[in-house]
């Protein structure tokens, strides 16, 4: 949700700001002052933190398909909030992603054993305590 909302706000803000030329990079700083862009960046940072949080207790092959549901949210926001045209092919893409998320959501979140990713010199007690809960 944070990624979808952040991307949408960035898109809306950048459309208000206008094109940024490579010869006038100060336009990037002006774009940061746009409230839509600023809030969008904050939401995307929140997504990064939450994504890292999820990776601490779930598999990568669980988290990636699950978070890809954001693509579906972006398409829905584009269609119903920004009133953009979404082609039938894109609706089919939304259906495929939703199906993929449904498939992975029905399985276990964590399948790997903590001792298999312990690096040389790490503290096993810390690692196991984190993954048992």
């Amino acid at each position: 949700m944070f990624a979808a909302a952040g991307d949408s706000m960035l898109s809306h803000g950048m459309k208000q700001t206008g094109n940024i030329s490579l010869h006038h990079l100060q336009g990037v700083l002006l774009a940061l002052l746009n409230p839509w862009v600023a809030v969008g960046i904050v939401l995307l940072l929140a997504f990064v933190v939450l994504n890292m949080n999820a990776l601490s207790w779930a598999d990568l092959t669980y988290v990636l398909p699950a978070t890809s549901f954001g693509y579906v949210l972006i398409a829905l926001i584009a269609r119903f909030v920004l009133h953009e045209h979404v082609s039938p092919l894109r609706w089919f893409g939304i259906a495929l992603i939703s199906g993929g998320v449904g498939f992975v959501a029905g399985g276990p979140m964590l399948t790997s054993h903590p001792e298999q990713v312990v690096p040389v010199g790490a503290k096993p007690a810390t690692l196991s305590s984190g993954l048992e809960s």
Binding site: M52, V63, S68, G93, G107, S112, S129
Partner: protein, 126 residues
């Protein structure tokens, strides 16, 4: 020749993205469940453990390589080819890499999910 450059760029973007995702996942697995750590040791302990993990630094560096490779590749090829192809290859590559390097049990359910999401992303971005 330009087509070759574009596809080489797509492969570099996908490879760097997979390396970044796997290293980030490995870093967070080594840190442990952040809820548990936060409850027992406080927020500062979580932040310091995350930031001091070398895999996190390498993962962020790999993601930076992926980002700048994407910028270069977009200058060689159409965004309607580069974005979906790179995203789809990254999903499939992550399933392989997670199985080999993170020892995740990628069963049929997860393979189907990876292929469906990769196909869906290709259609959405295309």
């Amino acid at each position: 020749m330009n087509q070759v450059h574009t596809w080489l760029g797509i492969l570099v973007v996908a490879f760097a993205s997979v390396v970044g995702d796997v290293l980030l996942a490995r870093a967070m697995r080594e840190v442990g469940d952040v809820h548990d750590l936060w409850r027992r040791h406080g927020l500062w302990s979580v932040v310091s453990r995350v930031l001091s993990n070398p895999n996190l630094s390498f993962g962020v560096a790999a993601m930076a390589v992926a980002f700048f490779s994407l910028l270069f590749t977009l200058s060689w090829g159409d965004v309607s080819l580069v974005a979906p192809a790179a995203a789809s290859l990254t999903f499939i590559g992550n399933a392989f890499a997670a199985r080999v390097f993170l020892h995740e049990r990628v069963d049929r359910r997860r393979w189907i999910a990876a292929v469906l999401v990769a196909g869906g992303v290709a259609l959405l971005a295309g």
